[in-house]
Amino acid sequence: MAVIETSDLTKRYGDVVALDSLDLTVREGEVFGFLGPNGAGKSTAINVLLGLLTPTSGSARVLGHDVQSESRAVRRRIGILPEGYSTYDRLTAREHLDYAIAAKAAADDPDTLLDRTGLSPDARDRRVGGYSKGMRQRLALAIALVGDPDLLILDEPSSGLDPSGMADVRELVREEAADGTTVFFSSHLLPAVEAVCDRVGILRDGRLATVDTVDGLRETLRTESTVTLQVDAEPGLDLADIPGVSTVTKGDGELRVTCTDLAAKAPVISRVAAATTVRDVTVDDASLDDLFETVTAAEGATDGRPPEVEA
């Protein structure tokens, strides 16, 4: 069953197309990473799913319910952390959770939820106004977990968190996924997505550039791997006949071989080693960062690298 299904979903603001005919399917139980540079339309798509924005055309269903006409039914069964989410400065963490638990007619214990997201016990009865950004994020995540939702929609859940906080978020996503919860989360930061996602969708300029597994993405993009060998003498070798080798550059006692097929690396190394003394070998596989740039920078974009800070 599709947990999220959008069909030809479009959102325009005057002449600006924020979301361009998005067709997206997220299956039950999977962890889906929604990637894209800032301004690609990730938050717009998520806000349409949450019923905060009305699409210009097209439709979306979440857990079988139309997001426009049956928004309350959708919101009963999901946990959310949208962009620009804010809690009340004058209320405590416990008061936020009590309200959310009542609204969802759930039976959760606020402390159990806050234990899971790691908000320290002595902060729970203090007003949120005095919290750090990371503490607010931990509270927001606990609120998202209220009522054991069937789907978690998290927009940039790692923003404002330090590395250990980001690891906690990944751990939480894994736990929820293991429990059968479908997780849909957006990010412009790749390591989190690479580490936990079953599938990844990359959004660029409001359009879905690609959807695939992390491994599948590597495969389809045929990303390169670079083998650099430190050699005593430059051998008069021809490596171009090895299948998957694309370019060979020589100089300064170094041989750089780029392979479009990862299987070409081993034959390259053994052939060079047979011809001369190899002092060192470094292998540089394409990371998802490179993939991300390759995909989002396609069609002549000038800068595919996402900024470090989410606005």
């Binding site: 905060l52 924005l53 959310i80 309200y99 609204a103």
Partner: protein, 270 residues
């Protein structure tokens, strides 16, 4: 639905209770009534009823401020700071949010005014020896309805506004036009109606002029006050339309929130 509305109202009230807003309004209003009573007592006024008649013109300007301050950020403030995504990420309808806000901000006004009126009552008893409880109770009731109508209008305008600044502009505009300018210039409106009536050959009676004056909340309040000071039908001026005034206050209290909700229902909240 009812449970949802009450939950939103309780939660919002908890938040408002901790803000300086409520206490500021209570303190300002209590201080204001103290000043009024003292200034009344030092003049040649000899009874509490006379004092109340005298202060009605002042409460007509001050009570809307209490109501508007209590209501104008109810929804626009949450849209501005992003807390609306917390509230509407939960399974409550937008109607429940508007209704809950009306309730909680109404309760804020009632509590604030209640404190102010209690202070005034104590002072009046101390200075004049006795207070006509019937007159005082009716004065308090009509004044509270007036302040509540203004609070409801402010919540309605807040639902229309997409930002704090816009809510402020709308609420301020409403206060200036519907209250201050109307108080000063409703005579010109009546003149204009009479002029148009003259062109088409219709004479406007004093009663009809009173109906025109009572169209705005402040005009309606002043008309309704006839009920406080001259409860017997016979004692009232022949052209007074007090119940029309009460009705107009209710119309304002329902119509503006209804329009606000109608726009908020489909508003883009992100």
């Amino acid at each position: 639905m009812t449970g949802s509305v009450l939950r939103v109202a309780r939660h919002d009230f908890l938040n408002v209770r901790r803000s300086r807003l409520l206490w500021g309004v209570v303190a300002a209003y209590a201080l204001f009534t103290v000043l009024l009573v003292i200034s009344g007592a030092t003049s040649d006024i000899t009874s509490a009823t006379q004092l109340l008649v005298g202060v009605t013109g002042v409460t007509a300007v001050v009570l809307p401020v209490v109501g508007i301050v209590a209501g104008y950020l109810a929804i626009a403030g949450e849209r501005e700071d992003g807390t609306i995504t917390y509230r509407l990420g939960l399974p409550d309808s937008r109607l429940a949010v508007v209704a809950g806000k009306l309730l909680s901000r109404g309760a804020t006004v009632v509590l604030g005014l209640g404190a102010g009126f209690a202070v005034a009552l104590g002072l009046a008893v101390a200075m004049f020896g006795s207070v006509d409880t019937g007159v005082f109770a009716r004065f308090v009731a009509i004044s509270t309805v007036f302040a509540l109508a203004n609070a409801a209008v402010a919540v309605g305008l807040s639902a229309l506004a997409s930002s704090r600044a816009r809510a402020m502009t709308l609420a301020g505009g409403f206060y200036v036009v519907g209250d201050v300018l109307w108080l000063v210039g409703s005579g010109y409106v009546v003149d204009a109606v009479e002029a148009v009536g003259g062109v088409v050959g219709v004479t406007v009676s004093a009663r009809e002029a009173a109906l025109v004056t009572a169209l705005s909340p402040v005009g309606a309040y002043l008309e309704a006050m006839e009920l406080a000071f001259a409860p017997a039908e016979a004692a009232r001026a022949g052209d007074a339309v007090p119940w029309f005034g009460v009705g107009m206050l209710l119309v304002w209290a329902v119509a503006v929130p209804a329009i606000g909700y109608w726009r908020f229902r489909t508003a883009e909240l992100a």
